[in-house]
Symmetry: C3
Subunit: 161 residues, 3 copies
Amino acid sequence: MYVCVDFNAVREFHNGEYSKQTFLNYPRVMLFEFQLSAPRADFYNITSKVREAIAKSGVAAGIAVVYCPHTTAGITINENADPDVVHDLLIGLDKAFPDRAEFRHAEGNSAAHLKASAVGSSATIIVNNGKLVLGTWQSIYFCEFDPPRERTFFVKVVNCL
Amino acid sequence: MYVCVDFNAVREFHNGEYSKQTFLNYPRVMLFEFQLSAPRADFYNITSKVREAIAKSGVAAGIAVVYCPHTTAGITINENADPDVVHDLLIGLDKAFPDRAEFRHAEGNSAAHLKASAVGSSATIIVNNGKLVLGTWQSIYFCEFDPPRERTFFVKVVNCL
Amino acid sequence: MYVCVDFNAVREFHNGEYSKQTFLNYPRVMLFEFQLSAPRADFYNITSKVREAIAKSGVAAGIAVVYCPHTTAGITINENADPDVVHDLLIGLDKAFPDRAEFRHAEGNSAAHLKASAVGSSATIIVNNGKLVLGTWQSIYFCEFDPPRERTFFVKVVNCL
């Protein structure tokens, strides 16, 4: 007995026999790793990379989890139109989470660790019709708080009808 | 050969033949869009809307992603019992992320963008037995930081046994 | 007709007939509840508990959602190597979100509610090859902001090829 849980196959089934082709395409790649050079404290727009992962996954409907495996960087979603917004976000986070005399961590980057926990290590975005469901002004950012660094981030695409 | 990946069908199968009905119900609606009027800076309790989406999806076990497509608003989970908590949260965020002379963004709402990244653009909640797994005092809030606005939010229900 | 959407079964199928065994293991347990004693304001490392949940679920590829059902505690991912980082994170959050004269909430723990919304009520981590995809220095923390408390947290494992 042959079972295929590829959801595209199931959709095709509704029109008759599903093709043997779907087996050859299975399993799909659903986890993507990207490299990023982060020479300065900044929010790096990675939306196009997340779109690339979704396109390669072939997923039509589901969610995408963008994950930062570092402890002095994070992922956030914010405005993409006026670059002054990112400028102001960096200042606002510096003011809310400054370096402090009471800090003990010898590496001296506790403020960057604080910002990482404040913005968070991941963002979850909805995927529909093969596209990210983002607002008009939204982009996905890799937030570098402890530069310069060579960084990695992951995109996991979850297929769900 | 007939294949159905509807998980309810699979559960029914364990009790014998699954019914042809399950095919007719497939595919389910899993993505829901809601409108919200936000006349003032406030946390708007949207828990009942998220529950409505889960009920309509028919999903018994999985997760729900509540997503805000705006850059001066966010989603958070916090106390629903004493309205003074939301009052204090608004003040505490205002104090941590005030408007600043150094800000450049001409629209003048950089503090709202900061609060959006601090609380985050989404919340992920577990679904079990067709219900949200929330703590006794938890509700899901749409956080408006740049009023007045007409807003949208999405609920994506992910079915997973 | 027999249908099994267990993804391991599907993988086994590629090597020939899948075994009847997979039916007996189905459905898998995918939602786990843990108890935690939190005698003081601290970040409690719960990474080993999340790993335990993933191992018990048998899931090879997917995501794990770690969820805090309390409103004066949260979940974050941060450094596990130098305990001074957590020391500094607690101080930095205290300074950014102090108790304030304007607060009205009679319980007097509004600062803890603020920290809960700042770090967030959940973390989503990618699972690959049956393991958490964490960075070298990352651990998952339950953040207690209103001690002493007896706490609960959930781990939902989502299976997705």
